[in-house]
């Protein structure tokens, strides 16, 4: 009894001694509790029959019924399929692209040229998807887009790129590569800059040409960076681009472009089915969490590398 009291006293003393730091942390911790943990608690409505206008509490419990409904819902299956396909294409094309850019940039000898290219290719990252949407309209619009103007002036038929299901996924993949690849190359450039020059010197003495240096020195040396970023990318496979899709999506292409995020927005906020769309959101969060933990464990086992 006595010891408990003293340890309590010493804890109080400890906190009082460090009161400034604890005081500093009060607001941020409150922020996380209110704006992150209350919504996490709010996930409970996925297991309830939520009545609009109520709060998280006092609704009828229906267990996993919503999750059964999810997998019977055709629009959800379609959105899930689109999400996975689009993410898959984005990884296949978009993941290697910044690595290629970094490798190419690294081979440039003129510092001025390198700087100018970097200045140009980083810029699109800093504009919003709405602006990128404006650019795509100006380039591809059926009425007066640049591409169709050129086709018309050559006497060819104009093509509807923005609302044709055939092109829409490619449009998503390419526009994201256009916007983000330059920026993503930074991290690889840094990794390449960290490679020991002596390895290159040795390779050159062994008669390695530029291509062989890339293949046998640079790539193996940055393999760890690549695998860490790959893990992170896999973890977000169920995010196929919320703002991007919402800006570009139109009814003509929603069958190929609707993804889980835009589906949650549409069903939840537009149509007002809170419980169902929260269940969809929980499904997404849970799968994402399992993926990132799983792939992290895998990489720990395989290479001794982990992101945590």
């Amino acid at each position: 009894m006595h010891t408990v009291k003293t340890s309590k006293n010493s804890l109080v003393k400890y906190i009082w001694k460090n009161r400034f730091i604890y005081l500093i942390l009060v607001l941020p911790l409150l922020y996380y509790i209110i704006f992150h943990y209350i919504p996490i608690y709010g996930i409970l409505i996925a297991f309830q029959n939520y009545v609009p206008g109520r709060s998280f509490i006092g609704n009828e419990w229906i267990g996993f019924k919503n999750f059964g409904l999810i997998f019977k819902s055709k629009p959800f299956i379609e959105a899930l399929r689109n999400t996975i396909l689009i993410s898959f294409y984005k990884i296949i094309w978009g993941f290697p692209f910044p690595i290629v850019i970094a490798l190419l940039l690294n081979e440039v000898r003129s510092v001025k040229f390198k700087r100018s290219v970097q200045t140009a290719i980083y810029f699109p990252h800093f504009v919003s998807w709405v602006i990128v949407g404006g650019i795509l309209v100006s380039l591809f619009s059926i009425n007066d887009g640049l591409v169709n103007e050129i086709l018309k002036s050559m006497g060819l038929k104009s093509i509807n790129i923005l609302s044709n299901p055939k092109y829409f996924r490619s449009l998503l993949v390419l526009s994201e590569m256009w916007k983000e690849a330059g920026m993503q190359s930074i991290i690889y450039l840094a990794a390449i800059a960290g490679v020991d020059v002596q390895i290159y010197e040795a390779a050159i003495i062994d008669g390695a040409n530029r291509w062989q240096q890339i293949r046998y020195v640079t790539l193996p040396e940055i393999a760890n960076t690549i695998s860490i970023l790959f893990i992170l990318r896999i973890g977000s496979i169920l995010s196929a681009g919320m703002e991007q899709t919402l800006v570009l999506l139109n009814p003509l292409v929603s069958s190929v472009g609707e993804n889980i995020d835009t589906f949650v927005y549409k069903v939840g906020l537009v149509q007002g089915d809170y419980s169902f769309s929260t269940a969809v959101g929980l499904f997404k969060s849970a799968v994402g969490y399992i993926l990132i933990i799983g792939s992290n464990c895998l990489s720990k086992k395989l290479k001794g590398e982990s992101i945590f």
Partner: protein, 299 residues
Amino acid sequence: MTSNYKRGKLSRGRLSLFNIINCTMLFIFALSAIYPFMYILTISLLPLEDYLKGGPFLFPKNVSFEAYKQIFTNGSIFVSFRSSVIITVFGTAVNMFLTTLCAYGLSKTKLKGYKIFINMIVFTMYFQGGLIPSYMLMRSLKLIDSYWAVILTGGISTYNMLVMRSFFLNIPSSLEEAAIIDGATEPYVLFKIILPISLPVLATISLFYAVGHWNAYFTPMIYLNTRKKWPLQVILREILFETTESMRIAGETNELMKSPIGPQLKMATVIVTVIPISIVYPFLQKYFVKGVLIGAIKA
């Protein structure tokens, strides 16, 4: 940079085929990143006569500022510009206040409870409540249609906070200990010693936040109902993507876009929205590279 210089010396490059192909590819990519912006500028400056003749308009031949004049005399753009500025300025201020407190507090790794705090915070990077519970929270806080909803939604970006924290961790602790021995109080240490030498990282993180707020479109779209409160991005999306048909049905037609130079007006609005970003871009580029690297190493 040094490694490049040395390698350059080693394989002192004549104009090899490798170099030519490499630079051509990079040049094409760089051009493709920049040309669309030039094209939009071209369209926004296109005089009506030229537009009616039909294009393609690859480069501006004649220049007319009519579209810009109409935008600014109509004035509705100022309303959304003002919203964008309010969200950006106040949002960034709130972000910086909370982020700095959090990052500094968590840089004290020996503090009792530290493990709990950091795990609790990092967990939110990987698992979120999602859109609907967040929306319901804002509704029960009566923040719908208030700028506060937009500002508080991303009050602390955990990623940015960790970048800042890693900067604080790298400050030698001897600096603080010496000041404490000299009788400085903890607030004095934070405000007079730590924050002044952290100005570069504070500037970097504020830029990240400011650009994020300026570009945000989804959050203001869902939380702000009053048209007058909509920032530029939300208005711009409406102008660009709502077809004239649906606007007529909705009765929300933006009067300006009925003008014969509608396309020029659209593109001029895009340019006006991009200009603030272009102005801070030199700083962004300089600091962003650093921020990405610190983040990549530590996160």
